[in-house]
């Protein structure tokens, strides 16, 4: 079983189309759900999953089978999602879509009205993409900082710093709008 998996990875590295298809079918769900965590929009996550695997296909010769496929795919997926965030300009529409799904009553703070939640979501979309991705993964998705660091290709300290800067910028943005967090 392990030998077969290793064999597929080596075949993929050599550009084998069937090996690529096997890897696509095996990891498309993982890549999609990772991108969905960052973009939070299912249709966008589908498109970016295709883009991620296209880049993976293009870079097959640089793949190192000993380091495993999933981590490598996750790093590429993170870069693709980051590129997408950088290309976004329609902040208002995006943030409305992001918070379209209400929080469960169990976790909703009574003092935080729906309007304030929308303003917070909008302020969040105005953050620099690098800070936003770190905050999304570490704060919203509550993923281990080690995993976030590996996906972003930075240290755990850098993740902490980015999250801190994201929260500070968010706080300032909200204060400018007259919202005191």
């Amino acid at each position: 079983m392990q030998n077969e998996a290793n064999n597929i990875l080596h075949l993929f590295r050599q550009g084998d189309a069937l090996a690529f298809e096997r890897l696509f079918r095996q990891y498309q769900r993982a890549v999609y759900s990772w991108i969905l965590r960052i973009t939070r929009i299912p249709a966008v996550a589908e498109d970016l999953t295709i883009e991620t695997f296209w880049r993976i296909h293009q870079a097959h010769a640089q793949f190192e089978p000993l380091r495993g496929f999933e981590g490598w795919a996750r790093r590429i997926a993170t870069r693709v999602a980051l590129d997408w965030l950088r290309s976004q300009r329609t902040e208002r529409e995006l943030s409305l879509e992001l918070c379209a799904e209400p929080a469960s009553p169990a976790v909703t703070d009574a003092a935080v009205t729906a309007e304030i939640r929308v303003q917070i979501a909008q302020a969040f979309t105005r953050l620099p993409p690098k800070l936003r991705v770190a905050a999304t993964l570490a704060v919203l998705e509550e993923l281990p900082q080690k995993d976030v660091a590996a996906a972003l290709g930075i240290s755990v300290t850098a993740v902490k710093l980015r999250v801190f800067r994201a929260l500070r910028l968010l706080r300032k943005d909200l204060e400018r709008q007259g919202i005191t967090p």
Partner: protein, 85 residues
Amino acid sequence: MNERNENRMKTLLQHSLPPTGGATGPERDLWPAMLRRLELKPAAAAPASSVCAWDSAWFDGVLLAGLVALAAIFPSAIPVLLYYL
């Protein structure tokens, strides 16, 4: 920002943008779309990528030169540049 404020901001964010959980998969099999993308590759992507690579290198050089010039003329801007890196 102290730790209490940081935690408060985290809680507010989590209330405003609930986690996706990431447990879901795509609603459809994406392989057919992937195949279409791969078929487009030879016609469109290959020449474009080489042009983009050259453009990008040229632009990066100009940007770097601009930043060095800015740092030389206004040394006080260096911390601001480092902050946004």
